[in-house]
């Protein structure tokens, strides 16, 4: 296996408030190989976006945040790593955009409303390239072509409000790809778009990933999107990764009850014809990170809850065969039943 393009190790994030500090991310670990897509899935408030911001070190000191753990990019020589959380402010600026880039959910707000898009793309090149204006503009044109914008030459001088949502997202992607980063973090890049445009943007991202061989961390709450783009999926709940594995395996046979519940909550088309057919839901809501339940954070909402087993200590993330990991106090039982079902 090739060396990973991005490693997150024991990432923890705490916010400090007047009443004390609240830990919102607990020991998040994952690796992404070049050319691979890891989807990070979870409900709102599960810590997906905070994780992505922590990776880019966007949560600064001013926000009263403490970060621990490591975010590693491969260094100059083999086996050598750069820790994004440890380098100084100047170095992080040199890394952002050049080696690790990010695209946002809302393409309109991610673009400067008073600047022409050509200039915005060219800027991203000039921050790092040290190349001439003319060369940067040429590169911007090339990027607009690459992300499939029709008539790129005349679009260079458009303002963001003159483009449709899908086009804007393409521009945002062009900016992120300006320096051909090794890692791209996509924070719900298709949530704000129409379904048809969504499919186009996903196809574009996959194609660009094939061309550049970049690793992608794809944050979403949409399992349809997950099955579309991801190679592996990590499910987050209350700031912890609760299940991780290959997309096919996880979506077909979720082991952690939370993942199973999430998958069951995806509305099915077959039900649409039956009026009154109930939508499956998970009772309750994501717990307040300041008052996490004892033991497994999910146990108050869990159908498989067993007193005495689930509410003791926080279960560890157990390794399973097939590069799969789950965090469940009853992991042993699921594995056993999984094996017996294979034996049948």
């Amino acid at each position: 296996m090739t060396a990973p393009a991005l490693i997150a190790r024991e990432l923890c994030v705490s916010f400090h408030k007047a009443g004390g500090s609240v830990q919102v991310i607990h020991d998040v670990c994952f690796e992404i190989a070049p050319g691979e897509t890891l989807a990070l899935v979870g409900e709102s408030g599960s810590g997906k976006s905070v994780t992505s911001m922590a990776l880019m070190r966007l949560l600064g000191k001013a926000n009263r945040v403490s970060l621990s753990g490591q975010v590693l990019l491969p260094g100059a020589s083999d086996g050598d790593f750069v820790d994004l959380l440890a380098v100084d402010d100047h170095a992080i600026r040199r890394l952002r955009g050049r080696r690790i880039a990010m695209i946002f959910q809302e393409p309109l707000t991610a673009l400067n409303p008073v600047q022409r898009i050509g200039a915005q793309i060219a800027e991203a090149v000039r921050f790092h390239g040290g190349c001439s204006r003319r060369a940067a503009r040429a590169r911007a044109l090339e990027l607009l072509e690459q992300v499939g914008i029709p008539e790129p030459r005349s679009r260079l001088d458009s303002y963001p409000h003159e483009l449709s949502g899908g086009m804007r997202q393409r521009v945002v992607i062009a900016i992120a790809l300006a320096m051909e980063p090794e890692v791209l973090i996509a924070d719900e890049p298709t949530t704000a778009l129409d379904v048809t445009v969504q499919a186009q943007i996903l196809a574009l991202l996959k194609q660009l990933q094939r061309d550049n061989g970049m690793a992608m961390l794809f944050i979403t709450h949409d399992f349809g999107v997950v099955s579309e783009v991801a190679d592996r999926v990590a499910v987050m709940y209350a700031g912890r990764v609760v299940e991780e594995g290959a997309v096919g395996a996880v979506l077909e046979r979720p082991l952690m009850p939370y993942t199973a519940g999430l998958l069951a909550s995806v509305p099915k088309l077959e039900l649409a014809g039956l009026p009154g057919a109930p939508l499956a839901t998970i009772e309750g809501s994501v717990p307040d990170p300041a008052r996490l339940p004892e033991g497994c954070s999910f146990h108050p909402r869990c159908r498989e809850y067993r007193p005495g087993i689930c509410d003791g200590a926080v279960p560890p993330l157990a390794d399973l065969p097939g590069a799969r990991r789950i965090r469940c106090a009853r992991a042993g039982e699921w594995i056993a039943s999984e094996e017996s079902s294979h034996a049948d």
């Binding site: 001013a62 890394l95 008539e151 679009r155």
Partner: protein
């Protein structure tokens, strides 16, 4: 056929600047339009008028003392020394308008700089800068101007600097508030993610977005500066005779108020006209630059 399709889907031409909505919104604001016409006329008159008039602003003609307006070719009359008020008014306008514009440029640049830095760097930098702004604001500006002008030689340049020192705080506050909200927007974060430096984000990303309020505040600053200049010149601390300014023309008119009222009325009306015009232009710009005003 292929040709026509190609033309049909080609990108729409960008509207020229005179077709843009901001301009049409400004033109729809009657008072602002009148204000603009007044200011342009006044400026042109001050720049070119003195060359066209029959009398010099410093030529003393003792035979024509206290001529009321429309006596011979003294269109607005003469002053106690028989100098032509029309040409004095226009020469004074050069000084007063120049002071107004210069104060606007200096205080806008300085206020924007302070506001951007205070808004972008939250924490101690911002707190300290904004408390300095508050301290300046808490001090009545007219006393500040008078105290300062007691220490320096009152040349037009020094008067400009002194007035600018009391006008930048408004702009600093407006810009600071604007930047504070803009810096939380996604495009600022996106610029940081692309590897932009703090200076780049402040002046290339944030300031252009705050241009609307800055322009409006700058316009109102001109009105304020003209008024302040007139005020301190009236009190005798500003522009010194024989150099005319609207303020010191009023000052010298005081003692003749009953027998030669035009001496006070002419510069008084001019000051009022200039100040209200700038205020109307400011109002018009505020509406024109706010794209939401179309929806109301």
């Amino acid at each position: 056929m292929a040709m026509t399709t190609a033309t049909a889907i080609s990108v729409q031409r960008r509207p020229h600047w005179w077709q843009q909505r901001t301009l049409s919104r400004f033109l729809r604001h009657r008072l602002a339009l009148i204000g603009l016409i007044v200011i342009v006329t006044l400026t042109l008159a001050c720049v070119f008028g003195p060359y066209l008039l029959p009398h010099d602003e410093l030529t003393v003609d003792l035979r024509a003392r206290f001529s009321p307006p429309l006596t011979d070719d003294f269109y607005l009359g003469t002053d106690p020394l028989g100098r032509d008020i029309t040409s004095r008014l226009l020469m004074a306008g050069r000084i007063s308008l120049l002071v107004g514009f210069s104060v606007m440029l200096i205080s806008t640049a300085f206020g924007t700089l302070i506001g951007v830095i205070a808004g972008y760097f939250r924490g101690w930098t911002g707190v300290v800068l904004m408390r300095i702004v508050d301290a300046f604001l808490a001090f009545p500006s007219i006393f500040l101007v008078l105290v300062l002008s007691a220490f320096v030689k009152p040349s037009p340049f020094m008067i400009t600097v002194i007035i600018a020192l009391t006008c930048w705080m408004e702009i600093a506050r407006i810009v600071e508030a604007e930047i504070r909200s803009l810096r939380e927007r996604d495009f600022t974060v996106a610029a940081r993610l692309a590897g932009a430096s703090a200076r780049w984000i402040m002046f290339r990303e944030l300031v252009p977005n705050a241009m609307g309020p800055i322009i409006v505040a700058a316009t109102l600053t001109i009105a304020n500066a003209i008024l302040l200049e007139a005020y301190i010149s009236f009190l005798g601390y500003g522009i010194q005779p024989p150099l005319p300014s609207w303020g010191n023309m009023l000052n010298s008119a005081q003692q003749y108020l009953t027998n030669a009222p035009w001496l006070a009325i002419v510069p008084g009306i001019t000051i009022t006209l200039a100040v209200t015009s700038f205020n109307f232009i400011g109002d018009g710009l505020r509406d024109a630059l706010d794209s939401r005003s179309d929806l109301q």
